[in-house]
Point group: C2
């Protein structure tokens, strides 16, 4: 664990980008992907908490996450 603000692993980011067809990946690119995914995860999670409160629940369910993600992301499927 490098620092307390960092939940997602950098090695994972390299792997995902490599798997997607990259020959080489700069350190800054892996770090940028991590930063973006962390921001997105927090945005989705916060909206999921709002949605679950709105439904009178204290437990976050997968439906909350799904609806939150739909609101946060461009979905074309």
């Amino acid at each position: 664990m490098s620092n307390s603000n960092t939940e997602l692993g950098l090695a994972t980011m390299y792997r995902v980008i490599k798997k997607s067809g990259a020959e080489r990946v700069s350190d800054e690119a892996a770090n940028e992907l991590r930063k973006i995914l962390e921001e997105i995860s927090i945005r989705i999670a916060k909206q999921a908490v709002d949605l679950s409160n709105h439904a009178g629940r204290k437990t976050i369910k997968s439906d909350d996450i799904r609806l939150a993600a739909k609101n946060v992301l461009k979905h074309d499927q």
Copy 2:
């Protein structure tokens, strides 16, 4: 490592949702968030690879990730 398709940790997903104000988090919700983040990471990474190829580069840079994320996500900032 639970299985080869899983790059992001489940414990991390619980932490992110808890940090966002959840009292309780169902296993399915944590799993759903992981699934969604993995899909997004792959979509961003693939588009970043395309963008870097388009620019005649073999190394993925942070600019590729940033532009790819802009295309994949709804950004209101």
